[in-house]
Structures are given as structure tokens and as C-alpha cells.
């Protein structure tokens, strides 16, 4: 049974020996230690968001990685050896971060494109196909069947850039917008002089595939009809859908199997490795500080209880049970601990809000609230601290 008078008297006997200044310092240290710990998790989490590509505005390409087998002096003559076997494709599905694997099928026949009118140009066209689910955006008319004279193609956006910024100025040709390119008609000579002639138009653009794509049905038909090496049906390149291409385990898997990937993706993984080292070091430091601040707080409580030892003994002799005393002392310190932890979390939330605003200026999206790992760190550190303090109070009272 407790009441205000009893609380007032117990506070006078047990808690006033701690000193307000010492209590303030202990709480301040706890807030600082916890804030550092949460901030280190926050930094790690934010870097993870940025490097995994989730935070990049309008850029889904980071989640697609095209891989091929490394061509070396030893295997360059063995073209078949540089293709992927069905088992290797199956294994890749189990690789770290890989969510889906698609085969990139090249055209094994010649395609010659001619553009008439003012643009007047002709070029060999490297066509290939990927499964539709790997396209940035599937155009509305993205179909082809034998007998159809109109072929939609998807152009690499890099091709348009090269034309607009390199080729057009050098030839005195006009620059072209994406819409105007879609309106340009092409004549395709397929399968050499003995082959067929088709009309084609640009149906869309690809941000990550550096070639010209045609519907899979057309490539399959062309390879079968005009293919020079119809026996070799194994893909020489694969497109992977990857959850986090910056994951160092993913990069290690590629390296271990002798696969090459877009250098950009490997650069992300190297940066990720550096960031992980930095955030791990910060985390270790933060853990040490958190440990020290916990120690300071626990020592403060023990000192306060030790100073009130005489009163504590007499209270016990008067019939105050250890459990009653524990509840009173814990009831005094636990709200302070919870308050300190919430204060640290509030600081973290403010930092995240500022980080989100700063990132937004760089076309990056970061959540305005800390994510689950930070809340998890808060819950774990608070629970551990409460257990430690609780045990410390019980021990001091029993003593």
C-alpha cells in the first residue's frame, strides 16, 4: 500500500542522497550515449536505402544487372563456353539478392536498318530480346508474329544520347526528342540479301540495356529462320533482377563465378563496403559510449542506494519488504530511463527529418521517419538498460 505521504518520506530517505546534479549528469550521459547509438544505426540504414537504389527518384535501372562471362585470352575462341548453362541459371536464382533471372537472346542473323528522308542513314542493327518482365516499361504494341510487317523495337536511351550530342552536331543533323524518334519509320533488311524486309518503329526506350530490343517472338523466329548458329541456344548474357545490387555478397558471388556486370553496379558495392566499414566502426564506438553511459547511470543508482543504506536497513526492520522498496526505487528511475530513451529517439527523428529534406534536394527519397532497424535498436537498448538497472536496484537493496 502506498500513498503520497509515504512516497514523500521514502523519497526523503532513499533518493535525496543522490544529488540533483549527479542525476542530471547521469541522465545527460544516457541521452548522449543512446542518441549516438541510434544515430549510427540511422546512418547505416539511410546509406543502405541510398545504395540499394530504393531512394533514387525515377531510376529503376539499379535493380537490373546484366551479366556475362568474362572473355579472357584463354576462352575467347570457345564461344560456347562463354554461354550460361541451365544449371548456372538455376544457381543464380539462389545467389544473394537475386530475385529473378532472364535470358538475353541475341539475334543470330544480320539486321540492316535504313532511315530515309532528311535523316538518311543506314546501319547494322544489333538486335536482342529479353523477357517482357525485364523491360523498364512494356510498350502498348509490343507484339510480333510471323507474317506481321511492322516490328516494334526498343532503343537504348544511350543511343539517342550519342545521336543527339555526338553524331547530329558533327553531321549537321537536327537533334531529336523521344517523341519524334518514335515517329521515324525504319526499313529493316532481315537475314541478309536472301532474307526479308520489314518496317519498324521505335516503341520505347530502355535505360539499362545498351542495345536494340525486339519482341522475343521475333528474335526466336529470326534465329530459327535465318540463324547462323541455330544449335547454340544457351544465352551469353543474363539480366538479373536484384533486390540490392550494392550488396557486397552479390558482388562477391559474381567475382567468384567469373561473371562480369555493369561497372556502375560494382562501384555501388565497393562504396557499400566502405560505408559498412565506416558505419560498423561508428556503431562499435556508439556501443562503447552507450555501455559507458549505462555504467555511469547504474553506478549512480548504486551510489544513491548505498548512501541510503542505513535508512534501507531500518525500513526493512520496520516491515518494508524488499519488493516494496524495489518498486519505489524502480518507479523513480525507470520513468527517467524511458524518458531519456524517448528523448534520444526524438533527436533521431529530427535528424531523419532533416536528412530527408537534404536528400530531397538531390533528387533522393528518404523516409521522414526512422525505419524499423532504428526502432529495433531503441527497443533492444531500452530493454537491456531496464534489465540491467532493475537487476542493479534489486542487488543493491538485497545487499
Amino acid at each position: 500500500m502506498s500513498n503520497p505521504t509515504q512516497h514523500k518520506l521514502l523519497r526523503k530517505l532513499l533518493l535525496q542522497s543522490g544529488g540533483k546534479l549527479r542525476l542530471t549528469v547521469a541522465i545527460g550521459t544516457l541521452v548522449a550515449g543512446t542518441t549516438l547509438l541510434l544515430l549510427s544505426v540511422l546512418v547505416w540504414w539511410n546509406f543502405g536505402m541510398l545504395l540499394s537504389g530504393d531512394a533514387q527518384k525515377g531510376n529503376a535501372t539499379k535493380n537490373y544487372v546484366i551479366i556475362a562471362k568474362q572473355v579472357t585470352d584463354y576462352n575467347m575462341a570457345n564461344t560456347a563456353g562463354n554461354t550460361f548453362t541451365p544449371q548456372e541459371v538455376k544457381d543464380l536464382l539462389q545467389a544473394p539478392q537475386v530475385q529473378d533471372v532472364g535470358e538475353v537472346i541475341p539475334a543470330r542473323f544480320a539486321v540492316y536498318a535504313v532511315i530515309g528522308g532528311r535523316l538518311a542513314m543506314a546501319t547494322d542493327l544489333p538486335l536482342e530480346s529479353v523477357p517482357d518482365r525485364f523491360l523498364d516499361e512494356v510498350p502498348e504494341d509490343w507484339t510480333w508474329e510471323p507474317g506481321k510487317r511492322q516490328l516494334p523495337v526498343i532503343l537504348s536511351s544511350q543511343f539517342l544520347d550519342v545521336y543527339n550530342y555526338v553524331f547530329a552536331p558533327s553531321q549537321g543533323l537536327p537533334q531529336l526528342s523521344r517523341t519524334s524518334v518514335k515517329a521515324v519509320g525504319l526499313k529493316l533488311q532481315v537475314g541478309g540479301e536472301q532474307g526479308n524486309t520489314l518496317s519498324a518503329h521505335v516503341a520505347g526506350f530502355s535505360e539499362y540495356l545498351g542495345s536494340v530490343l525486339a519482341p522475343p517472338a521475333f528474335i526466336a523466329y529470326g534465329n530459327k529462320t535465318y540463324g547462323q548458329d541455330a544449335a547454340s541456344e544457351q544465352p551469353s548474357r543474363l539480366v538479373l533482377k536484384v533486390a540490392d545490387p550494392s550488396d557486397t555478397r552479390f558482388a562477391a558471388y559474381l567475382e567468384q563465378h567469373g561473371y562480369t556486370a555493369n561497372p556502375q553496379n560494382l562501384r555501388w558495392s565497393k562504396m557499400r563496403a566502405i560505408v559498412e566499414v565506416v558505419t560498423t566502426a561508428t556503431g562499435v564506438l556508439a556501443l562503447l559510449l552507450m555501455g559507458m553511459s549505462t555504467l555511469v547511470f547504474v553506478l549512480f543508482i548504486q551510489l544513491s542506494i548505498t548512501r541510503a543504506q542505513q535508512s534501507l536497513v531500518l525500513l526493512g526492520q520496520l516491515g518494508y519488504s524488499p519488493r516494496h522498496i524495489y518498486r519505489f526505487v524502480a518507479g523513480r528511475y525507470i520513468p527517467l530511463i524511458v524518458g531519456a530513451m524517448l528523448c534520444a529517439m526524438l533527436l533521431c527523428c529530427s535528424m531523419q527529418l532533416i536528412a530527408a529534406q537534404v536528400a530531397s534536394r538531390s533528387q533522393l527519397i528518404l523516409p521522414s521517419l526512422p525505419g524499423i532497424p532504428v526502432w529495433g535498436a531503441l527497443i533492444i537498448s531500452t530493454s537491456l538498460l531496464l534489465i540491467l538497472v532493475s537487476k542493479s536496484i534489486k542487488k543493491a537493496i538485497r545487499r
Binding site: M1, S2, N3, T5, Q6, L9, L10, K12, L13, S311, L314, L315, G316, Q317, L318, G319, Y320, S321, P322, R323, H324
Partner: protein
Amino acid sequence: MQLTMHNVLPNYLQPTPKERVSAIWGNTVSIQQGDLVSVQAPSGAGKTTFVQLLYGLRKDYTGTALWDNLAPNTTDEEALAALRTNNVSIVFQDLRLFGELTAMENIEIKRCQTNTTSTATAHEYLQRLGMSHKIDAKADTLSYGERQRIAIIRALMQPFNWLLMDEPFSHLDNSNRQKAIELIGEIVHARKAGMILADLNANNYFAYTQTLIM
């Protein structure tokens, strides 16, 4: 609540002193609730030890002492605290007040434990023992006699079946002692409680039902 002792002997008195015959040490004693017991012994015979082992403060003895079925030397701290809060009250020989608390606060900290006695009753007891004017004085500043009266009032602030007192009137003048005896007698009687009073000499403070010479 019955008190039973069988062959209780403090460690420091072992082996049994042959030169002294004791009604308590090494004997079987049975006291019923409602009994008023006087324990008489000269200095050093173990009066305080006896009171303290009944209250569970000393455990350095052999034999068994039981409050009904509860042995104060082996029971856990929580059960002992419950015994001290609800069943057995005490006036220590050395009083054991909180020096930094006032006289009233020393009484209140006991009263608040159970809230079975009102603050008004505490004031009434203070008045009866002539301590009303000292309620705001810190215990450290009181004379021994004044502190003794505060310790007596504190012991009466809780429910009890037994009241243990170790030389409770040693520093009281006749007038104050008589007031204290009357107050204690009334309350013990009203609660149908038992009482054990340890003192140096034979006395007739209360109508004892048993006298044990230690």
C-alpha cells in the same frame, strides 16, 4: 497467533551455561496470544537477543522458534516483512528512529504502511504522551526519553497480534512511564494482542500472565 520455542540457544551462549538457569534458553516455551509476558534478566543475559530473534533480526541460534508455523530465522524476506507489518510490532531498545526525519514523520512512515490507524489517532497518542509540541522536531534533536515515546507511538501505528518491547521505559520519568503504560495497555487489550516486555528488573507495569526469568 501462538509463540512456541523449543531448545532455543544463541550461538554465543553455547555450550549451555551451567552456572545459570534460564526459563527461555534451552527450554520449551509456549505463549498464547493475549498473554502478557515479562522477561527479566540482568545485563548480558540475552534479553535483546531474545527479542531480536523473535522479530527475525537474528538468526545465529539453534533450536526452533515459531510464530504459529512461521520460523523467523528461515522464512524469506517478503514473509518476514509481512509478519513485521501485520502481526508483530516492536519497540527497540536502541529505538532506531530515522534521525533526519521529524518526530511526526517517524510515526507517519510506519502508519502509512497499512493505513489502519489515522493521523488523528497519531496526534491523540502524541498528546497523551506529551509530545505534541515536538512533532516537527527532527528525531536527532530529541532527548532519549522523547525518542523513546516516539518509538512507542510508532509501534502502535500498525496492526499487531504481538507487541515486543525491549526496555521501553528505561529513560522515562514516572509520570511519562505511567502514561505510556496506560496507552499501551489500552491498545493491547483492545486488539486482544499479546505482549512480551523485556526488562532488567521485576516490575508491575502490566498485569502479566507469565514471567520468564532469563
